[in-house]
């Protein structure tokens, strides 16, 4: 309780609360602009946080992270263009409901569901992160290496698509992380004679490039495609009805919120699983419930044609991922998704290292982050209700032709401010091009980001563990000396083997079906 009080005491400074509010507002606006998302918002705001104190900067980031997904639901409902990828399913029923004259009700469901999911995940963060961090303090080099391996394996195992491309992405990230002085000998590696690379590839410009510049290049491509197609801007429906949910609707949606929040929280804790998996799982599960209980009844639309549950399910699930994705980051130092990887950048700028030691070295900051997620989600409810009409109007007046150079400039100038060096601009531009090209080649970015974050730790712990064991690799699977490491390695193996097992099972099923048909 003392720690929670410490978190609240830090957060309740009016200036800190002010920055949390700025983050919420900025997140709502950025999230509601189609093509922009929480990654880009972080890429823009991380460099801006250089000049802020740690409490201000981190409160801003928490607000930003919490409200981006809510912002994404606004254009999804109003014009069927998801503001963020996590609102892609909200667009189906949300827009159908808006077209039938219930835009206010659809937005109200989206906001309330998001707040419900967000608050539940903040509670999960509050309950799970501190005990996990306390447990992780027992970890030595051996366990930390195995933990890094588990993080990488979970991302690769949950990717879907080509395993080879996932592995290429991970190995590329690990290789880039070796640039700079060797931690074993202090000798430079892969520095190409560039002094600025001796301490490794600068992390913040690298992230700004991979997320911000890559997204700008995607936007530029989209603008050219739209122009060639002669796409006309969509007409926005008007909000004529009330945004507030009545008691009957609240009671009806409660089971959906509970189920989807639970799904989102579990998915959020697993590194690499991400919001998309949560919204699809939640949507699929609730569709069966809807078809069983409501479909076909008078006044009830078909699933996908304006069902309230079709908005509540993905919105509760995607916001339940937000704070829970911080559980592995704050407790173990492993980012739960790409945004929490960017959160590492924000912490590093402030001279902090995420992981169990954060609770020892900076308890005020660690607990402030945790309670800030709770407070941000609670504040988000009235703020979203008050501003949703203004934001939805503002977004459709914003010319994308001006947006593209603005984001580029914020990202590149932000990269410059990392070390006040032109080299950082070069890194951001190069990372942006690499990000764009690899995306076009179908190389997933999640393993690359995680490998960049964990690369140095993995190598360092591997080297130290092998030095202790005299080069004996069995130390990682020693059931007596290092049972935690063995469990983590088994977990990593399970994550890697699960997709292979599923593929083999499907192949056998297909063969059996073909035989039956023959």
């Amino acid at each position: 309780m003392t720690e929670i009080a410490l978190g609240f005491a830090t957060l309740l400074d009016p200036a800190v609360l002010g920055f949390l509010m700025i983050g919420i507002l900025a997140g709502l606006i950025v999230g509601s602009i189609p093509g922009l998302n929480d990654n880009i918002a972080f890429a823009i705001f991380i460099p801006l946080s250089f000049s802020l104190s740690s409490t201000y900067a981190l409160a801003l980031m928490v607000g930003l992270y919490c409200s981006c997904a809510v912002g994404g639901s606004i254009p999804a409902i109003m014009v069927k263009v998801p503001g963020t990828a996590s609102s892609v399913l909200t667009a189906i029923d949300g827009h159908a409901m808006a077209r039938s004259g219930k835009a206010g009700q659809a937005l109200g469901i989206a906001i309330t569901s998001s707040v419900f999911g967000g608050v539940s995940s903040a509670l999960v963060l509050l309950l799970f992160a501190p005990p996990m961090a306390a447990f992780a303090l027992r970890f030595g080099y051996v366990e930390n290496f195995s933990l890094g391996l588990l993080g990488m394996a979970s991302v690769l195992g949950l990717l879907g698509g080509s395993m080879i491309k996932g592995l290429i992405s991970a190995v590329l990230g690990l290789l880039v992380a070796t640039v700079g002085f060797s931690q074993q000998t202090g000798l430079p590696r892969f520095t190409l004679g560039i002094d600025s690379l001796y301490e490794g590839v600068p992390f913040v410009p690298l992230l700004v490039g991979l997320f911000g510049v890559t997204a700008v290049l995607d936007l530029a491509e989209e603008l050219i495609r739209d122009r060639r197609k002669g796409a006309t801007p969509r007409q926005m429906p008007r909000i004529t009805d009330s945004l507030m949910l009545d008691w009957r609707m609240t009671k009806r949606l409660l089971p959906t919120w509970l189920q989807c929040s639970a799904i989102g929280n579990v998915i959020g804790i697993i590194p690499g699983a991400g919001m998309l998996m949560a919204i699809y799982m939640g949507y699929e599960r609730i569709s069966h419930r809807y078809k069983r209980l409501f479909a076909g009844k008078p006044g009830e639309p078909e699933w996908g044609e304006g069902a309230p549950e079709g908005i509540a399910a993905p919105e509760a699930a995607n916001n339940a991922v937000v704070a829970s994705s911080m559980v592995p980051l704050l407790s173990l130092g492993i980012p739960g998704n790409s945004v929490s990887a960017l959160f590492i950048g924000a912490l590093m700028i402030q001279g902090m290292v995420p992981g169990p030691l954060l609770f020892i070295d900076h308890p005020d900051i660690a607990w402030m982050i945790i309670v800030a997620f709770l407070v941000a989600n609670v504040l988000m409810w009235p703020v979203s209700y008050a501003l949703v009409r203004t934001i939805s109007g503002l977004v459709f007046r914003m010319p994308k032709a001006v947006l593209v150079p603005t984001i580029s400039l914020l990202c590149l100038t932000g990269a410059y401010s990392d070390e006040n060096s032109m080299f950082s601009i070069g890194v951001a531009l190069a990372a942006g091009v690499v990000g764009y090209v690899t995306r076009r080649l179908g190389i997933p970015h999640a393993p690359l980001i995680l490998a960049l974050v964990l690369g140095r730790t993995i190598e360092d712990n591997l080297g130290n563990a092998l030095a202790i064991s005299g080069g004996d690799w069995t130390i990682f699977v020693d059931p007596v000396g290092h049972p935690i490491s063995l469990a983590l390695i088994l977990g990593a193996a399970a994550f890697m083997l699960a997709p292979l097992a599923a593929e083999t099972r499907n192949r056998y099923r297909r063969r059996a079906t073909l035989k039956m048909e023959a």
Binding site: L175, L217, L223, P405, S408, G426
Partner: protein, 154 residues
């Protein structure tokens, strides 16, 4: 050869080349610093080759269309080109605001359909001055600005 038209084939070859050349470089480091990066680089090389083999076996043509290439050239490639020129101008000591205004104006004019020049000049100036104000005046980032402008603001 159908496989030569697949993107995976060429990207696999590129990753193999990067991996094996990085491996050769890593083997030149001292023995304690080389094992880990050399192993990773070799793994990247073999994964690149695995991608080539996979492309060979599936051999579904994925070559981007001429239209797709034009879109990339007119959109992302132009965008990067403009910002590289901007970075070179900053590096050459031409100041921040001038090159930034020019870069923004070029990109805005590229993406808009109408030709309301005065409006777009104002938009470009607004973006350039707005970002300059945020970083230089509010956050005290020492942007590479001309001495004349710096003296004026100081």
């Amino acid at each position: 050869m159908r496989v030569l038209k697949t993107i995976d084939f060429w990207s696999g070859l590129a990753f193999a080349a990067i991996g094996f050349s990085a491996c050769a470089t890593a083997l030149g480091f001292d023995s304690r610093s080389s094992t880990y990066p050399a192993t990773l680089a070799a793994a990247l090389g073999f994964l690149g080759l695995a991608l080539v083999v996979k492309a060979w076996r599936s051999a579904a043509a994925q070559t981007p269309s001429a239209e797709g290439c034009r879109v990339i050239l007119e959109g992302p490639a132009l965008e990067i080109g403009v910002w590289v020129l901007w970075a070179l101008a900053l590096w050459a000591g031409l100041g921040y605001v001038g090159p930034t205004f020019a870069a923004c104006l070029a990109l805005i004019l590229r993406h808009v359909e109408d030709r309301r020049l005065r409006l777009h000049v104002a938009q470009a100036a607004g973006v350039a001055l707005g970002v300059f104000a945020i970083f230089y005046l509010i956050f005290n980032v020492p942007l590479p600005e001309l001495d004349v402008v710096r003296d004026l603001l100081d």
